[in-house]
């Protein structure tokens, strides 16, 4: 029994908006973070419906961006007819998509592409203005670009702060400060940074489309599930970002002070620098350097020692070693300084040896944990990107192999289908279904004729033609038919008897007359019974004939379908062709992936070699400068020794006094 709702639905025959239904099917996958499946669903929609509506097109672009298909997304977005897109929502989505695309290009260092994406933006409202400004700053860095004016909607026109808020985004301010530093406009930079180091910010909750297009936010979406937990994590992350901006501003300030030789100011700026800041290493270095320059030797000594020990593979750690040794040679004694430089040289040599042995190791994927140098090398963004590309090619290979399995399975299914079809054709031939169908059709025609004769006879009877009895044929049941047969037999017998006995045999003639009357009575009763049943039975016969007609039509239809299917191989042939094509494509793609994998490994190997060379070069410079410093110390020691010797030669009394003075000087130095 269908429900009321179902019946109501059935009555409503308006066509379903299939585009919307497909879009929502895509969303089901998207909300679960299955972006590749969602993109496949969009592709399926495009194939089934012919074209995509604007909303789905944008969703497609977003999904493409999220899985790293920027070029395709860019094509979709740039082909978008901005001017004819009056719908504000679509405009907004387009803006978000272009901003996200630009952001990804910037992250990958593709500045020209980022500029392209940004130049396609025609209007920016206040919500996205800060993001737009920041991305423009980065894409056109270090040159200044002409930004679009912020477009304000009705609600925001009254709010004058919106513009200011958008432009006072911390990232924009930081970039402005960096630009001032670059242009040596230190005072402006200091003013900006002084505000930034104590301010706090709370970013707005991202919209659905921002979440869709942003990889970072998408990562958050993957953690989707416990909403409350998410909000908590989100707020922690926002707080951390705000703190990171404060720290960064403080670090930039200290750097400006160091550049202007205002070491005391730099020191006071960094004195309360948080220990767990991401910029800890740089802050420590700047602090130690400023302390050294402002003659806070103990602090400088301790922090340089800490840096040198804690960061043995970083440039600042290496630089700290040299500054430390320099301080020891100045603060303590030349011999201690020399010793410090010797240890430092040994340290550098050790790094060089490690690097050499690292360069001899063959590169192995997923082996980064085994080598500290590989771990260091992967901090270089280009190498890290290549490493990610390598991981992607591995994943692609696995996917293609799965697709090959699927294609193989489809081939087997097609073969089974072909076999099934062949079996059907054979069975059809063996069963001679057409002959059987023809026999059935003949039988049906005979039945129909019988019915029409009976109906005509019944009509004649109703018009008084009492001799008409053919209406009874085919409408009597078995019992009645037996009676009718018996009556007919009796009639024949009576005719025979009439012929046999002479007319003057009155006794016999009387008996025959009695028989005839009795037979007529029995026949009359039977006729009456049958006539009573006639309308009902003829109706049943008509219905039965109708059902037979319908069944025969179905059988004919089915038979013709089977005939078409068995004779035409076209539908299966198309599928076979497609399967073969896909198998070939899979093979080709696998080869391409393997080739690309090899290329990436070569590129990584080259990059690592370049990295090793660079490190070796830097270490060589450090070794050279260490050696120079040692040479200088040795020179000092030699000249000191010479002075002592000269004094000793002058007078033995003087010699003793002089030695005493020189060693004192050495200590002071």
């Amino acid at each position: 029994m269908p429900s009321i709702f179902a019946r109501t639905q059935q009555l409503n025959l308006a066509k379903t908006d299939l585009a919307e239904k497909h879009y929502r099917q895509t969303l089901f996958y998207y909300f679960q973070g299955q972006n590749e499946t969602a993109l496949t669903e969009v592709g399926r929609t495009q194939l089934r419906l012919g074209e995509l509506d604007k909303k789905t097109s944008l969703l497609k672009a977003g999904l493409q961006i999220s899985i790293g298909l920027q070029a395709q997304a860019q094509q979709v977005l740039l082909a978008f007819d901005h001017k004819n897109t009056a719908n504000e929502n679509i405009q907004e989505l387009l803006l978000v998509a272009l901003l996200s695309l630009a952001e990804q290009f910037i992250e990958q260092g593709k500045m020209a592409e980022a500029q392209d994406a940004l130049s396609n933006i025609l209007r920016v409202d206040s919500r996205y203005y800060s993001q737009y400004t920041m991305l423009s700053q980065l894409a056109y860095w270090p040159t200044k670009t002409n930004l679009l004016k912020m477009s304000t909607d009705k609600l925001e026109k009254n709010n004058e702060n919106v513009n200011a808020d958008a432009l006072f985004s911390p990232y924009i301010q930081l970039n402005n400060a960096l630009r001032h530093i670059e242009n040596k406009e230190y005072q402006q930079a200091i003013n900006l940074l002084n505000v930034l180091k104590v301010s706090s910010w709370f970013s707005e909750e991202p919209t659905f489309w921002q979440t869709l297009f942003s990889k970072k936010l998408l990562f958050g979406a993957k953690e989707y599930g416990a909403n409350e937990d998410n909000r908590y994590t989100e707020s922690i992350s926002q707080g951390k970002q705000s703190l990171a901006i404060n720290d960064y501003a403080r670090l930039l300030l200290a750097q400006i002070y160091v550049q202007k030789a205002l070491f005391e100011k730099a020191l006071s700026e960094l004195q309360t620098f948080p220990q767990h800041s991401p910029y800890r290493e740089s802050a420590l270095y700047l602090f130690a350097y400023s302390a050294q320059q402002s003659k806070h030797y103990t602090s400088a000594f301790n922090i340089f020692t800490l840096l040198h020990k804690q960061y043995p593979y970083s440039y600042l750690g290496w630089q700290s070693g040299e500054l430390l040794a320099e301080q020891i040679s100045k603060q303590q004694s030349l011999n201690q300084g020399l010793q410090a430089y010797q240890q430092l040289e040994e340290f550098y040599q050790q790094r060089v040896t490690e690097l050499s042995s690292f360069s001899l190791q063959p590169f192995k994927f997923q082996n980064e944990a085994q080598s500290i140098w590989l771990e260091q090398a992967l901090k270089e963004p280009s190498l890290s990107n290549l490493y990610q590309d390598l991981a992607q090619t591995n994943a692609l290979s696995k996917t293609i192999k799965k697709l090959q399995d699927k294609s193989h399975w489809l081939a087997e299914t097609i073969a089974l289908n072909q076999q099934r079809k062949a079996n059907i054709v054979t069975s059809q031939k063996n069963n001679k279904q057409q002959v059987q169908l023809n026999i059935l059709l003949i039988k049906r025609t005979a039945l129909a004729e019988k019915l029409s004769v009976a109906l005509a006879s019944e009509v004649a009877l109703s018009h008084g033609e009492t001799h008409e009895t053919s209406w009874r044929d085919g409408f009597a049941n078995d019992n009645e038919q037996a009676w009718l047969n018996r009556i007919n037999k009796s009639k024949e017998n009576l005719i025979y008897l009439k012929k046999k006995y002479a007319i003057d045999d009155k006794n016999q003639q009387q008996s025959i007359k009695d028989y005839q009357q009795r037979l007529n009575r029995v026949e009359g009763v039977l006729n009456w019974q049958l006539y009573q049943q006639f309308p009902q039975r003829s109706w049943h016969h008509k219905q039965a004939l109708k059902i037979i007609d319908q069944s025969l039509a179905r059988v004919k239809n089915q038979q013709s379908k089977i005939l078409i299917l068995s004779e035409s191989q076209s539908s299966l042939a198309i599928i076979i062709e497609k399967q073969l094509k896909s198998a070939a494509t899979a093979q080709r793609l696998l080869q391409k992936t393997q080739h690309l994998h090899a290329q990436i490994i070569k590129e990584i190997t080259d990059n690592i070699a370049g990295y090793i060379n660079k490190q070796q070069h830097i270490l060589a410079q450090h070794i050279l400068s260490t050696k120079r410093a040692m040479a200088k110390i040795l020179e000092h020691i030699a000249s000191n020794d010479l002075k002592i010797e000269q004094q000793l030669e002058l007078s033995p009394k003087h010699q003793v006094d002089n030695r005493f003075t020189i060693s004192n000087q050495e200590v002071i130095r």
Partner: protein
């Protein structure tokens, strides 16, 4: 001093939220960029192949003349927290699904789930859907729907909608046959 400052500046620049050091090495990046482009193209081709095989599979296994698809959607799910669904056609179990929180939320946010894709011959059928879940007080609740449908030689799509009824704070099941 100059050396140190330069070094520092480089380090500081590296802390920028978007690493701009790439722009300073265009030559080094060109081959990497080509590789990235190739990888992107490859990725796109693999996705295309995946789509083609997906369509091929569907055409082969579920031809339109016999295809039946059953979908599930939720609007908005305030009074019913969906836990599982069972679907029967002519009293035969054809599909069942146990929802994770994330899948449930995906439905509540507007997603439509394709629950079942199968084949049926032409004729009349009876569909029974039983949804299990929790009400706002955390009690187990069942919602069910029966639906009689005719399968002809066109593909048939049926959506089972869980719809909130604000009048009685309950959720009802609406069966919608898509008009293609």
């Amino acid at each position: 001093m100059k050396k140190i400052s330069l070094l520092l500046f480089m380090v500081l620049i590296n802390f920028s939220f978007f690493d701009i050091s790439y722009a300073q090495e265009p030559e080094k990046n060109s081959s990497a960029s080509n590789l990235a482009k190739e990888l992107e193209q490859l990725k796109s081709q693999v996705l295309q192949l995946n789509l083609e095989l997906f369509i091929l599979e569907e055409d082969l296994l579920f031809p339109a003349s016999t295809q039946v698809a059953i979908f599930v959607s939720v609007d908005i799910g305030r009074f019913f927290k969906l836990d599982s669904v069972e679907v029967k056609i002519n009293d035969q179990d054809v599909a069942g699904f146990l929802y994770t929180d994330r899948q449930r939320k995906s439905l509540e946010q507007g997603g439509i789930q394709k629950l079942y894709l199968g084949n049926l011959k032409m004729g009349s059928y009876q569909l029974t859907a039983i949804f299990n879940g929790l009400d706002n007080d955390g009690r187990n609740v069942k919602r069910a729907a029966n639906y009689q449908f005719e399968k002809d030689d066109e593909s048939l799509m049926i959506e089972l909608k869980l719809v909130d009824e604000t009048s009685n704070f309950r959720t009802k099941v609406i069966v919608e046959e898509w008009v293609l």
